[in-house]
């Protein structure tokens, strides 16, 4: 990819940023990303973030857990080494399914929860040890940064964008070549 110019606009209030983003988007500016110390309520539809598909992944991880638990317990408790604790389970898996349901349930939840958390960290590139993505360490404290890419805003020159940004109440403007 050719060199791209990125504009970072810093705000000290999430509401100011949100209103600014609304104004910019209505003029046709494309906002690439917003960095914030906490989730800003209602920012997603403004900057055009699609609904997450994490829920679907959680369902799939859950199904995997369900299958693993069923297959595993059938092998451990019925086929390989039939175990009988207080008269149960005995015989086939189906006859004793009730005894296995609590573990199946727990394992389903375990897989869904861990799968979901790890997927989340990978997608956000925030696994332990990964380099930080945010342009300024202050966005983990009390500042909010809006990122605009020149390559995505062909219709505007960088000075036009900067004037527009200044009208929205930025406290700092920064440019970077990447």
């Amino acid at each position: 990819m050719a060199a791209d110019k990125v504009i970072y606009a810093m705000y000290d209030d999430d509401d100011v940023l949100k209103n600014g983003a609304k104004k910019l988007v209505s003029k046709g500016v494309k906002i690439n990303e917003v960095f914030s110390p906490f989730p800003i309520h209602g920012i997603d539809p403004i900057i055009g973030v699609k609904n997450t598909r994490l829920g679907i992944m959680a369902f799939i991880y859950g199904l995997i857990g369900l299958t693993l638990a069923t297959v595993g317990m059938r092998y451990f408790m019925i086929e390989d080494w039939p175990m009988n604790i207080g008269g149960k389970p005995n015989g086939t898996y189906l006859e004793n399914m009730l005894a296995f349901i609590p573990i199946t349930f727990e394992f389903t939840v375990l897989c869904a929860a861990h799968g979901m958390a790890i997927t989340y960290l990978i997608v956000n590139k925030t696994l332990p040890g990964m380099p930080a993505q945010n342009p300024d360490p202050r966005t983990t404290d009390d500042k909010f940064v809006m990122e605009l890419r020149m390559s995505e805003n062909d219709g505007f020159s960088s000075s036009e964008l900067e004037t527009m940004l200044k009208d929205t109440g930025v406290i700092e403007l920064d440019q970077k070549e990447i």
Binding site: G42, G86, G87, K88, L98
Partner: protein, 402 residues
Amino acid sequence: MEFKIANKAKMLTIALMAGGLLMLVIGLIVHMEDKSFLTRLLSNTLVNSFFFFSIGLGALFFLALQYATETGWYATVKRVIEGLAGFLPVGIILMLVTLLTLTFTHGAHGHIYVWMDPEVYKEGSHHYDPMVVGKSGYLNELFFWLRTIVYMATYYIFYRGFRMRSLEEDRVGGTEIHFKNYRRGALFLVFFSVFSSTSVWDWIMSIDVHWFSTLFGWYTFAGMWCTTMTVLVMLVLYLKKQGYLPKVNDSHIHDIGKWTFATSFLWSYMFFSQFMLIWYANIGEESAYYIQRIEDYQLLYFGMFFINFAFPMLILMSRDAKRNASILIFVGLVIVVGHWLDVYIMVSGGSMGAQASIGFLEIGMALAFLGLFIRVVLTNLTKAPLTPVNHPFLDESIHHDI
């Protein structure tokens, strides 16, 4: 905005009540000569009184829960919850009449409440039952009625207080009423946490007089809560379709849909916990309850579990489904029938046993009660503005967005 009952709804409730009564009368005439007639009639009255009473009670509990947790999102649907809770006085009367009839007929001659039959206590009589005699310190008519009156009085007093303060809040505003509701809501939950268990031990579990389960109260309570949430979501959707509740948005519907989903799981969890422990331990006195139901109601019993568990789980899991009115109404109607069947099997399994069948009498009576229930709830809704005027969290609720 004031709510007016649409003519269509008026016609529907009248049709339900009239059609239900007609079917009931046909059922009564057909079965008049049966030996089990009285038992059948009274156990059905108990099923329906309890089922609809419990929807009102569930709404009261849910309201108290919102007060005690100082929830904000529900403010726009608060009057709908109150409307449902407003069935409580009628439900209490229905329950009291049913229980009174049962007392005067000695628990339908010992077929419903075995322990009300004087024969059971006579040594030498072939009905003599030493186990029931052993329980008579708790399960006797005097103490039973004392408890019943305490439960009903508590529920009614709290309902009246909540309703009065809610209407007063519309007039005066401020936060004083809010904090009073907060304290009263918490207090109600304390009472309810005990009464919800002990009251169904008395009214339902004592039918299977030899059997007991600690989970039974919570199991019934979970069913009650789930039915209430389902009815609530359907009622809100109905009102919204009629053009009322303009402030209720998709997020509110989504939230009540989540409650339906979650309470269905709670109920299934309770069902399974009770079932699995008894199945695993396999002790004669405990498993008798399930053996009886599995032998006499196999299809109905497990069909009911499937409907109440798998239906909401599979259909309501996705976010879009919980925001879709047609899906919610469809699932809602199915699980309300499912939970009615649950109560039906609880009561009939112990009283009618293998002789139970669902016919004109059962369906007719359920429809008549349903008609009455809808009518009372809709009438309640007309009595106050559908959106509370001065609720401190109203603004938060209007901007509710998830």
